[in-house]
C-alpha cells in the first residue's frame, strides 16, 4: 500500500486507482453483509470466482464483496455495473446463467430481477424499485460501491478528501462552526446538537482529549450502525479524524458490541489500512496533526450504549453509568474531556465538510436536518435498511418503501426508539419523522429501529417484552430501575396470564412515573415509555386481558386456545405429525381435532397447515 504524505499524494492516489478500475469493463458486486451471509452469499461469491476464472473473464470483470445495500429481505443481492442490473435472491446455481447471459451477452436474467408486486413487471435497476425510489441514500449509497476491506475503493469515491479540506483549508473553529450550521444532531437517539458538543469539548483546557465512536448498537430491532461499520468503516474513521482535529484530540476509540463480529473485523482492517496509508498515525498528510484509533470490544451489556457506562467499559470496568452532573465533554475517559458520538453521526461529518452546511441543512425539517437511516423490520413486506430525509411521514416509510402489510393482517402500530421509545398507532402514521414530533407522540427517534406490528401482535405482550428486556439489562446500580422494573414486569406477567385486575393498571402507571422520575441514567428514565405509550394508545387491549381474560391478538398463551376448522381441514395430517404433544387426532382425509387438555399451545400446527384451517381464539 502506498503511504500518502500530502494532499497531492492523495489526489494522485485517487487518480491511479480510478485509472486501474477503468481497465475492468464490468464490476460484479455481491453483498457481504451479515444478513446476506445468513443466506450464504459467500457461496455466491465463490461461484462467481470459479465461473469468471473458467471463462477467462477475471481480467475484464472485477468481483467485489460489498457492505449492506439495505434490502436484506431479498438477499443475497448482486449488482452488475456499469449496466446497473440488480439481481435479488441469487443462489450459487444462478451464477453460471448470470455470467453467460448478463456478463458475456448483455442480456438480463428475468427471473432474478425484482418483480413489482403491484404492477407485476420486472425491474432492472435498484433505483426503480419502490423500496429504493423514495429513499435518499446519502450515507448508504456508498455501501453498494465499496469493498470495505479495500481502502482504495473508499479513496476512489472521494474518501479522505474531506479530511484534507478540514486539515488544510479550515481552522478547527471553522470546522465546528460548519457542523453547528449544518444542524446535525446526534443519531444515537437523544438528538443533542453535534456541533455544540464538539464546541463544549474544545473549550475544555488540558492536553489529552479523546473521541469515541459508539458502535454498541444495543437497541433490539436496529442495525444501521452495524451496516455502516461493516460496509463503510473508513467514512466513520474520516468523521472521527475531522472531529478530533476540530476538538484537539489525538486518540480515539471505537466501541463495538461483541455481537457484531464482522463490524469488528472490518473496522480493524480499516484502521490497519489507514495506518499503513498514513491517514492515521503521526503527522497526517504532513499537517502536523497526530491521531490514532483503537477498538474496544463490548461484552453484551445493553446499558453500555449509555455514554458513561460505555466509558467505564473501555476502561475495563463494570459498565455502570454515573450521574451526569459533570458531563463527559469535561470529564470522560480516564477523567479527560471526551467527545462521544454515534456511528451514523460520525459518518455524516465527511459529507457535511465536503458539500457544506448549507446543502446539509437544506435537507430535513426546521429542527432535524439531513437524512436518517432506519431499520424497517417486523410485520412489513419489505424489510431492511432505509435512509430517508427527516420529516418524511411514517406512512411513506411503512407503505411506500415498506410495501405495507406482510401476510394479510392489518398493520396497527410501529415501535420506534427501541426500549426507550414507544408504539405509535396507525392513526398517527401521518406524523412527520423527526426528533421532536416523535417525542411529542410519546415515543422517540432513538437510534432508528422501526418495528412494524400488525393485528397478530399483542401490545400487552410487547410492553411486557420491553419491561423484561430492561429489567434484565438494568445494571442494578439504582433502586427505582432495578426494583421498579421488576415489579412492573410482575404486574404485566399477571395481566398476560389472565390474573390481572383494574388496580394493576393504575399501579402500573404509578410505578412507571416513579421509575421515569427517579432513575439515574437514560435506561431507567426512559424505561416506562413502551408501557406508557401502549397504555395511551392501546388501552382496550389491556382491558380485554384484564376484564375479559382474552388476548385479542392471540399471542398470550394462557389466554388462547387452538382449534381446527372442520370445513377448511383437508385431513392431510401434517399438524398431527408435527404436534410435539400428540394432541391432534383424526383420520387421514378426515377433519382433525385438537385435544385442548394436552395441547401445549406451541402453534406448530398453525405454521404447517397449508389450508389455514388452524384457528386461534
Amino acid at each position: 500500500m502506498r503511504k500518502v504524505k500530502s494532499v497531492e499524494d492523495l489526489e494522485k492516489w485517487k487518480k491511479d486507482i480510478l485509472a486501474k478500475q477503468k481497465q475492468h469493463e464490468m464490476t460484479v458486486s455481491v453483498c457481504g453483509g451479515t444478513g446476506c451471509q445468513a443466506y450464504e452469499c459467500q457461496k455466491v461469491k465463490a461461484a462467481f470466482q470459479k465461473g469468471l476464472t473458467q471463462k477467462g473473464l477475471r481480467e475484464r470483470v472485477t468481483l467485489k464483496v460489498t457492505g449492506c445495500p439495505g434490502f436484506c429481505e431479498k438477499g443475497p443481492l448482486v449488482t452488475i455495473y456499469p449496466q446497473n442490473v440488480f439481481y435479488q435472491k441469487v443462489k450459487p446455481e444462478d451464477v453460471p446463467e448470470i455470467i453467460s447471459e448478463t456478463i458475456q451477452n448483455g442480456r438480463k436474467v428475468d427471473h432474478l430481477l425484482f418483480e413489482d408486486p403491484n404492477a407485476h413487471r420486472r425491474i432492472t435497476s435498484a433505483d426503480q424499485i419502490p423500496f429504493y425510489r423514495s429513499q435518499m441514500r446519502l450515507l448508504l449509497s456508498r455501501n453498494d460501491l465499496i469493498d470495505p476491506t479495500h481502502i482504495e475503493d473508499y479513496v476512489a469515491v472521494g474518501g479522505y478528501q474531506s479530511l484534507a479540506k478540514a486539515l488544510f483549508q479550515m481552522k478547527p473553529i471553522e470546522i465546528i462552526e460548519e457542523i453547528k450550521a449544518s444542524g446535525l444532531r446526534g443519531r444515537g437517539g437523544a438528538g443533542y446538537p453535534t456541533g455544540k458538543k464538539w464546541e463544549d469539548c474544545k473549550k475544555e483546557s488540558g492536553g489529552t482529549k479523546y473521541v469515541i465512536c459508539n458502535c454498541d448498537e444495543g437497541d433490539p430491532g436496529a442495525f444501521m450502525d452495524r451496516a455502516l461499520m461493516e460496509g463503510n468503516p473508513h467514512s466513520v474513521l474520516e468523521g472521527m479524524l475531522i472531529g478530533a482535529c476540530a476538538i484537539g484530540a489525538n486518540k480515539g476509540f471505537i466501541y463495538v458490541r461483541h455481537e457484531y463480529p464482522l463490524a469488528h473485523k472490518n473496522a480493524e482492517i480499516a484502521i490497519q489500512q489507514a495506518r499503513k496509508a498514513g491517514l492515521l498515525g503521526e503527522n497526517i498528510l504532513s499537517s502536523g496533526f497526530d491521531f490514532d484509533v483503537e477498538i474496544a470490544k463490548g461484552g453484551g451489556a445493553f446499558v453500555c450504549g449509555e455514554s458513561t457506562a460505555l466509558i467505564a467499559s473501555i476502561e475495563g470496568r463494570v459498565g455502570e453509568p454515573r450521574s451526569k452532573q459533570i458531563r463527559t465533554v469535561k470529564q470522560g475517559l480516564w477523567g479527560k474531556p471526551t467527545n462521544l458520538n454515534n456511528v451514523e453521526t460520525w459518518a455524516n461529518v465527511p459529507l457535511i465538510i465536503d458539500k457544506g452546511s448549507k446543502w446539509f441543512s437544506s435537507i430535513g425539517t426546521e429542527k432535524s436536518k439531513g437524512t436518517k437511516i432506519f431499520s424497517l423490520v417486523g410485520k412489513v413486506k419489505n424489510t431492511g435498511l432505509v435512509e430517508v430525509p427527516m420529516g418524511i411521514t411514517l406512512k411513506k416509510i411503512i407503505f411506500d418503501i415498506g410495501g405495507g402489510q406482510q401476510d394479510g393482517k392489518r398493520i396497527k402500530a410501529v415501535q420506534t426508539g427501541g426500549p426507550s421509545g414507544g408504539c405509535i398507532p396507525a392513526s398517527l402514521f401521518d406524523l412527520s419523522v423527526d426528533f421532536d414530533s416523535l417525542s411529542q407522540a410519546g415515543s422517540m427517534m432513538g437510534s432508528g429501529g422501526m418495528i412494524v406490528m400488525d393485528e397478530g401482535t399483542c401490545m400487552v405482550d410487547v410492553a411486557k417484552y420491553f419491561v423484561h428486556f430492561l429489567q434484565e439489562e438494568s445494571c442494578g446500580k439504582c433502586l427505582p430501575c432495578r426494583e421498579g422494573l421488576k415489579r412492573m414486569g410482575e404486574i404485566l406477567d399477571r395481566i398476560t396470564e389472565g390474573k390481572g385486575n383494574d388496580e394493576d393498571l393504575s399501579l402500573l402507571e404509578e410505578l412507571a412515573e416513579v421509575v421515569a422520575d427517579t432513575s439515574l441514567c437514560g435506561l431507567g428514565k426512559t424505561a416506562p415509555n413502551p408501557v406508557l405509550s401502549a397504555l395511551r394508545y392501546f388501552r382496550p387491549e389491556f382491558e380485554a386481558h384484564v376484564h375479559e381474560k382474552r388476548c385479542p391478538a392471540g399471542v398470550c398463551t394462557p389466554l388462547i386456545r387452538y382449534s381446527i376448522s372442520g370445513t377448511d381441514c383437508t385431513g392431510c395430517g401434517a399438524c398431527a405429525k408435527i404436534c410435539p404433544t400428540q394432541a391432534i387426532k383424526g383420520e387421514k382425509k378426515q377433519s382433525h381435532l385438537i385435544l385442548a387438555e394436552i395441547c401445549s399451545k406451541c402453534g406448530s400446527c398453525m405454521d404447517v397447515c397449508k389450508a389455514n384451517a388452524v384457528m386461534v381464539q
Binding site: 451479515t34 436484506c72 433490539p220 455481537e259 474496544a296 461484552g299 423490520v377 424489510t383 434484565e472
Partner: protein, 158 residues
Amino acid sequence: MDLKSVDLIVDKYQEKRTALISILHDVQDRYRYLPDEALRMVASRLHMDINQIYGVATFYKSFSLVPQGKHSITLCLGTACHVRGGPKILRELKGLLHVEPGQTTADRQFSLNVVNCLGVCAIGPVMMVDRKFYGEMNPIRARRIIEKLNGKRGGVRS
C-alpha cells in the same frame, strides 16, 4: 490445566488493564468458558484483584463461568424476532434440549443462549448456530437444525 494460552493472550494486549474485556473474550474463545484458574492468572498478570475480574466476568453477558457445549445455539429475541415468533422457537428449543437459556445439555453437546439482538433483524427470527446465522426461522426449522447436528435425522417433515 494448560495456562500457556492465557499468558500469550495477556502478552498480546501488553498487560493493559483496559483490555480486560478483550482479554476475557480471547480466554473464552480458547477454553469455551472462563476457567477459575485462567481468571486468577489474568488477575495476577494485570495486578488486579480477583474480585474485580469476577465483577467484570459476571456483569457482561457474553461471558460464561461454566463450560459450554460443543455446539452453541444462540437465539435472538430482539423486538423484530419477538414479534415474528421468536418465543415459539425458544419453547421448541427448550423442549428439545431440556435446558433453560444459559444452560448446557447433560451430554455437553449443546449450549442454549438467548441474546437481545443480533442485528440481523430484517430476516428474523434469527438463530446463530456455531457462529453461523440462520434467518427466517420457525420451530420446525430449528428442530431440524438441532437434529442434523445431533446426527440423527428424525422424521420431521419440512
